[in-house]
Amino acid sequence: MKRSLAGWTFAAPALLVIAVFFFLPVVAALALSVTDFDIYALADIHNLRFVALDNYLGLLRNPLFWKTLGNTLYFVVVGVPLSIAVSLGAALLLHSKLGRFKGFFRTAFFAPVVTTVVAVAVIWRYLFHTRYGLVNWGLSWVGIDPIDWLGDPHWAMPTIIVFAVWKNFGYNMIIFLAGLQSIPEDLYEAARIDGAGPWRQFRHVTLPMLGPVLLLVGILTMSGYFQLFAEPYVMTQGGPLESTKSVLYLMYEEGFKWWNLGNASAVAFLLFVLMAAVTSAMMWFARRKGAE
């Protein structure tokens, strides 16, 4: 038996699974996105029309699509750096030699990641309640008028971002913690001998050594945050005035609420193209910086 044949044979089961569960659905979705598959087509396949790129063009002309795209980008641009900064900060605190009760804090910081978003959302809705919420009560002590966190179109997205960051930072924190623990102690020792203070140690030892981890975390967080859905779904249902409706939310409504599967597939592909472009740009940037 030739070596290559043996190789293909061993890889075949995995390739088959990928083909059936990944490539086939993707091709089917792409085909769907150039039709107007809907409830009428479900009733009788003759009601299916080939619309070429009309779904895509329609989306590009739809103000709601741009609005959801803007909301999603807002969430990504503010949420991802914030989330990474909070994760890194928490990891540094936990890694510090001065820290106490590390086991407790590690568990406490990670707990939001493993709780269900629906249960947590109920509590957060109360925290941010305009009249009874703990947040506004706290603010009233420093003389700030109540803010309608989830009902004001300007505040709803920041509230969702804070909620999402709180919910997710523990996961990245664990990855950062592993990265920090793998940095050899002698590097810090050498830096200290050279007279570097804590900030310069962080800037010139910790950050460069964490480069690959940062890239990984950045890409994972970014692709996760582009798929914003559960948080607005449980907290605001996309409101008020559609200020928290994300691209994925739009797709969900098109596909599963209204059964316009053709349109929903087109949304999915546009989001996919966007995410692929942003991730490639990050990879390119990181490669140029030599982080890989």
């Binding site: 107007d36 809907d38 409830i39 009428y40 479900l42 009733a43 009788d44 003759h46 009601n47 029309r49 809705r125 109360y126 309640h129 305009t130 009874y132 309608d148 989830l150 009902g151 907290m235 605001t236 249902q237 409101g239 008020p240 005035l241 559609e242 599963f256 609420k257 209204w258 059964w259």
Partner: protein, 394 residues
């Protein structure tokens, strides 16, 4: 489905005793995922024999060809007296002249209001027209001040605006186009806008209220437009001191008592059922006035026909009385499968109007534009004689 699905089990043993050959296999479904589950079951050809279907879903399943017309069975069952049914709910199941559904229970939305607060504001008779309602809301608002309101119309629900608007045809030309630029709808939208402009209603979603019953008890709002299930909730949740301080009233209309949306649930038999005769027997049994009274006792749901209302349990229920009157004026929503989506756009545009982001004219034009886009496929289907493009407008 849901709570009703659990409770109806108590009515089935008697049916099985009366029909020894028939065994009812009851499957319960959570309400929130019922629509998806039924559509998936349709695609997979695994629908049940008979199911209670939300009235707004009937046009969609009729269009799919999933429903069996019931006209012959109805004609052959004298006990099921069509004239005894409220016209609006019954009409929900009639599409293109064929009856696909028999109402099981009905709901419509009317104002719950605080008698004491209205009295303090100097109003002793519940308003019957929009003009009287305006006067009442303004009086209440003057009385309760800036921190409390006259009415709650949650911005994340389409029902409040829809119930105010339903007295006019909302679609035109056999459901081909939106009819939102009509004078009638603009008048409704202007009234709706006026309520928010005058601060009679807070500009909030009901998620911001946290507990609508407590806030009603607190007097945060005096009117709350909602459905019959809240009769039981208010009885249970309001403190005893408020027990006789609240009432229900028919929904005011532009010039006197108004129409409202005939919601609720109706029985359908699926076309692929292999036990249609037995399925019909079950529907006929659950439609008997006596059984409907028993069902009302179990669940608090309101019967869709008039004779069960003569039973003391309903006739002496003072909170249900306004619903009984309102049901005579309840009308179905436009019978096109796209309706729920159009209603959602109605809510979204209504939210813009309430927040003063759109004028009434802009909103009406925008709604017509959105409705026409949503109905594009339907127009194509009708113009090409496309199979079963079911549904007449109103």
């Amino acid at each position: 489905m849901g709570f009703e699905g659990e409770q109806v089990a108590q009515l089935l043993p008697e049916f099985e005793r009366r029909n020894p050959g028939i065994h009812v296999d009851l499957q319960q479904m959570p309400v929130l995922s019922a629509h998806e589950k039924l559509l998936t079951a349709y695609a997979g050809d695994s629908l049940p024999d008979v199911t209670p279907l939300g009235n707004t879903w009937i046009p969609e399943f009729a269009l799919l060809g999933a429903l069996d017309p019931l006209d012959e069975e109805i004609a052959a069952t004298p006990a099921l007296d069509v004239a005894d049914y409220y016209a609006g709910p019954w009409d929900s199941g009639v599409i293109d002249g064929r009856t696909y559904a028999v109402p099981w229970y009905v709901e419509t939305r009317i104002p719950f209001y605080r008698v004491d607060l209205l009295h303090e504001a100097g109003i002793d008779k519940p308003p019957a027209s929009w003009d009287e309602w305006r006067t009442a809301m303004a009086a209440v608002k003057r009385k309760v001040g800036p921190k409390r309101y006259a009415i709650l119309l949650p911005l994340n629900e389409f029902e409040p605006l829809l119930n105010l608007a339903i007295h006019d045809p909302l679609l035109r030309d056999d459901g081909r186009y939106g009819n939102f630029r009509s004078a009638g709808f603009k008048r409704t939208l202007a009234f709706y806008k006026e309520i928010f402009d005058n601060d009679w209603a807070p500009k909030v979603a009901n998620t911001a209220i946290s507990n609508v019953w407590d806030e009603f008890g607190n007097g945060y709002y005096t009117f709350y437009v909602n459905g019959p299930w809240n009769i039981a909730e208010f009885r249970k949740r309001l403190p005893p001191s408020l027990a006789d301080k609240w009432m229900t009233m028919p929904l005011p209309g532009p010039d006197g008592p108004g129409a409202s949306v005939a919601g609720g649930t109706s029985f359908v038999v699926f076309r692929n059922s292999r036990h249609k005769a037995a399925a019909w027997k079950l529907i006929a049994y659950l439609s008997e006035p006596r059984v409907q009274v028993a069902f009302h006792t179990l669940t608090g749901n309101l019967p869709p026909r008039r004779s069960p209302w003569k039973d003391p349990s309903l006739a002496n229920d003072r909170h249900a009385r306004a619903f009984r009157e309102q049901l005579e004026r309840a009308v179905p929503t436009p019978k096109v499968p796209e309706w729920e989506r159009i209603a959602t756009e109605l809510r979204l545009v209504g939210e813009q109007v309430a927040n003063d982001r759109m004028t009434v004219d802009q909103a009406a034009a925008e709604l017509d534009r959105r409705a026409d886009a949503i109905l594009e496929k339907r127009r194509w289907m009708l113009d090409h004689g496309g199979g079963h493009a079911a549904g007449a407008t109103q």
